[in-house]
């Protein structure tokens, strides 16, 4: 693709940041409180707006309920819009109530399942109230010991609960079903791989799609292959971007294996230009969301890096000469095809991105602009340093 075209395409890129990335979070060992970390949904929106102001490509914020619950959703929506943001995916919390000790939608006890479904239905109401398109559903459901629960019975309970949720979706709303290899279920996880999520989506209906979190796979899994498969099946709903070396480390996206991120984006770019309109449509509707847990990093800066690393990966993927690539592939030219792909990765896109930012009146170095802006100093003074326990907020 020619640089001018790349610049045009970069303008269409959108990355959604998560409200919970702006507050304190940690490992099970310790949550280190960060000065100025957002304490409530209003402050999270302000932070997300700052990220969008600096990057120009992060115009929405995902919410997590109940952490972000408010009395007046209309006001919250306006508050966001006044700052150039819209409300993105709504994420129910099905893991922090005492009742969820043995699961939520797949729990052995119907009362607990009903409670969990009721919470998701509340989230669907929040979708309506905020204009959100996507219900983003991650379940902590699983077991810790062989024999602890009946695997097929759990499957049936989960399906039944998902059907109740799916039936309640708004007309154009989507259910994005996230899978995760392990944690906090250490023996078994009810939605442990894309295949399980996919099978449930097939059973639910067209607006149920799979959510791919980059940290939720077994070691050595080829994630771009999963992305390609789901794109082809019309079932790729979105991403939770982050990075990891071993487990679900929730690090800044693109920091541990930038080549993997690039390869994922090359599948998306190819799908965006596919001859098949269904594949193109699926690709265009993919929700690109960050999901990270910053333990030792300055939170806003970490989010900026994440968004910018996605931009860099997309830019490199756009630079690949796919016509030449497909030709080499068709000829079985193994190393030539690989080389053509790598040319995109080898490119230094920093000048191009500078040009992109200048063209849109954005700071050419968003990180430096953030550091110079005094934003962190200001919010640190205003918000102070919240006390923090272990793990996630509750």
């Amino acid at each position: 693709m020619r640089p001018e075209e790349v610049l045009e395409r970069l303008k269409t890129q959108r990355i959604e940041t998560p409200s919970w990335g702006y507050g304190n979070s940690g490992t099970r060992f310790k949550t280190f409180p960060a000065p100025g970390a957002a304490r409530n949904v209003w402050e999270k929106i302000e932070d997300a707006a700052e990220v969008h102001r600096l990057t120009g490509i992060a115009p929405s914020i995902a919410l997590h309920i109940p952490w972000d619950r408010t009395e007046d959703w209309e006001r919250l929506k306006r508050f966001a819009e006044e700052r150039g943001l819209r409300i993105g995916a709504i994420n129910p919390n099905l893991f922090q109530e005492e009742e969820y000790k043995l699961g939520s939608l797949a729990h052995p006890d119907r009362k607990v399942r009903d409670k969990a479904v009721a919470h998701v239905l509340e989230c669907i109401e929040i979708m309506r109230a905020t204009g959100s398109r996507d219900l983003s559903l991650w379940l902590a459901d699983g077991t810790n010991y062989a024999g602890q629960d009946h695997l097929r019975a759990r499957k049936h309970r989960l399906r039944e609960a998902l059907e109740r949720v799916y039936a309640a979706l708004p007309a154009h709303g989507r259910l994005l079903l996230e899978y995760k290899f392990f944690e906090p279920g250490f023996y078994f996880t009810d939605l442990s791989d894309w295949g399980t999520a996919y099978a449930h989506c097939l059973g639910l209906g067209e607006r149920a799609q799979v959510l791919v979190d980059l940290g939720h796979h077994a070691q050595a899994t080829n994630i771009e292959a999963i992305v390609a498969f789901l794109l082809d099946e019309g079932r790729l709903g979105g991403f939770h971007f982050n990075a990891r070396r071993y487990a679900d480390d929730d690090l800044i996206v693109g920091t541990t294996n930038p080549f993997e991120l690039f390869c994922i984006y090359t599948e998306l770019v190819q799908a965006e230009e596919d001859p098949d309109p269904e594949v193109r449509r699926t690709a265009q509707e993919v929700a690109y969301m960050i999901d990270q847990s910053h333990n030792i990093e300055p939170k806003l800066e970490a989010m900026l890096y994440s968004v910018l690393n996605c931009q860099e990966a997309y830019a490199k993927a756009l630079l690949v000469d796919y016509v030449a690539l497909h030709q080499a592939q068709a000829q079985g030219a193994v190393l030539e095809a690989h080389r053509i792909l790598m040319e995109g990765f080898r490119a230094d896109v920093r000048p191009l991105l500078r040009e992109f930012r200048e063209g849109l009146g954005l700071p050419v170095d968003p990180i430096q602009a953030h550091r110079n802006s005094g934003y962190l100093q200001r919010v640190s003074a205003e918000r102070g340093t919240a006390s923090a326990g272990g793990g996630f907020p509750s």
Copy 2:
């Protein structure tokens, strides 16, 4: 289950041994030739018959084409039947022709795909000729480098080829589609996980089912969960049993993690007794097959251990008190449920299996009986020690 019932159920167990387990095989570094290793399909059938004679539960042999190709399938079928065996699954070879360097059914070149399909159609003819029910399809198809081939194009080519194969199946024949995490494709494998195989099976039809090889998963994968899911979906077609620590090590089944084998069998036993007749039917039709590559072990003895380890795991799984288990599960009694399961595993089933063997007039210690039988000495003298290269026969 009461011991008498366990004894009855053990009589229904069937384990299929593979012809290629009786010949020389090795790693990429070296194939160590074993004295008396079978040199052709007739000798392999003799060895398989010996395993069945000693264990009583291995009455069929899987064939691999072209390694086991013969001119006269009728004669081969009779030869097997005279020794108490029937012909089990037919396994096409789609990885040892020069043309398959870049794949077979998913190869970029239509001519190669046609050749591969033609080979599978020949195997389907052999199914008809030998009375085999199952076509057991493993593909080495994959790529070694990012960009080497177009992932979605490969998917479409593979599906089209599979449709041609599926259409040619005998009326009651099944296509068992095997997946494998990696090897020999090191970057990408066309059928890399159960989800991919399952999706293709859905696209093909009811008689396409998934084949689970115990060595073909990412580290830490919960295989019994996959088994349970596929049983519930009516898509578990069969197993390739073996053991591994890291990769597809093809060791004697049950040797590296006997608890995992037990857990898998508990899912099968529960499905055999499920209230849902569809689940029971799926469980009853599962093909239990060994797929091992013995590098340093005496081949017949290795196969005996494999069959006996499956018997032991099944016996232990039968001993679990599932009524009590399901009750504890329903009550969320985590550790009590786990304990009930473990009681089956803790049981020493050697006395029970001795009783089983005595009841059927089988040697009480099949391994010792084999060592005492002089069989290995006899065939070593007759067959000599074949020379062997690296890896699999060709």
Copy 3:
């Protein structure tokens, strides 16, 4: 070994339980508070005493400082002794102070390292005060991003700090240095494998030994091989027993792979009987400690299972006929050697353990005895249900 000998040897087995296993702990997502969970060190000692009363083989308790800090160590020691317990390993906490965000003993800032050393020196004082032999040192030190810190500089800082610690040990005190593959360091961990810990121990002196936690390895690591190597080098100091499928799941020991636990014990039994007195001495001084984090399990019951699973594994390992085993090994009889080992694992040791307990006047079914004892009901009433945040206490 004959059953009478096994019974004698079982009397010598000792398993140390950790104070933190009796309080609430959780994942980063949620800590579910358990009714009756111990709220302070006195209650933890009571719980540990109950485990020892029921099993007869858990006569010591490991402490974690500052969680278990008290003003009067003499009183605490007496309190324990009155309940049949002695104080086991002292575990410093070098991960929950704000200053430790970027490390403790390897932190870039000398002031933080000094603070960390001072805390360990305090722990050494507690060793003296409580008669504890072992300082059990786990570090959360590591980094999250490539480039975050200078790897070799961290090594030097860590070594220097360890030297200060080692120099302060009591005359017969030991430094047990624990390694961990990852978490909470997601990119790099300063003590990430046994080799690193071993190299540091060599540099420190003879009383520095390696601590093996079963959950702290990469997937597919052969832990018994590490155990054997360290035993042979005189550098195996102790264990943190637990179980896991994928990461450091801290489940009840022996629940995910009982065969692995058995294999580890076979190495220890062989070392206990080795011709080399140095190897025997190392084996005899190994500290067997549980380190678990019970998230959904009743805590005392979970600890009982852990202790009993260690007992079962040891009993099975004692039953192996090592004379025959070593003979088969020397002859290169691959499958016969494996079979001899497996005979120990196959044995049902429940009758033997019943006999062991009867002989010592212990409850024959410690779990059932615990359930019947009313202990949990009593402490639940007394202690109530503590509120709990995420992760570990702080």
Copy 4:
């Protein structure tokens, strides 16, 4: 570093190619014969010389004995020198004789160990005859089943054999001891990790050093941390470069995770400039060797990519501003330190490498130059297509 300095440093880089990379090799499933693949050591030297001619940084070739054995080592040395090459590391083969079925240097039978030692001593003679500095020792020794052999006895046998080998080294010769996580030992490997190799090296003497093969680690292992540790200990002897996703895939170096290769090189560059002369000396003497097994790739082209990918990684590592990096690290500036490192990786070094090549009169595009040279056509005509079995040559 300034570009002129980078250019100077690039001139000092040396990559050794392996003779076995020019012949046919494969997986255990199939060896696909490549037209023009080298059939003997003379042709391999010609191919290595061609790689050196095109890249200017590959002036030595590693030999594998007996595959490359010749009657007249003087002549072979001259033959190489006439083509601008010297003989690099000598690699004994201890896995392809029938006797090595259960091991070589650690085999239970002294006769086999003696045979293995004798072969290595022959290789040491070849070192003398060819002027090679390094004995590069990889062992396939290991076991497939728990109990198969006595782990500590194997350690003692191995040590004793290594001592005999070490004692025979030429005065300035080095023993490079390679470790490997698994394969072909599937249960246990005698030299399975760097710690084991390191401990043996300590026991042998100063000229025993560890060899790091990039494909020989557990998933998620931080290889650059091992490199840094061994550099600091003076025990990093060399590399076997290649790439892999899951197991020891032996792909072209830098193709699956170029960022990992870059991170490794940053440790080496930092050691080359370390204040400590010992660290600098260790870094300068590191042997950089390729070890790949090309299954589907044109062999020469694959080797060219490998050499060039090492060059690219080194160039990027040289571009990092280490002064600024170390400053940021000392300040605990997590993301700034990471960003500084990444600037080196982000750089597009293609223009710089072009300049480097022009300066030395090398082809600016070595791959294209190779394709245009007619070399492959010529040797294909001369050599034909060798027939090939499975796995490695024998």
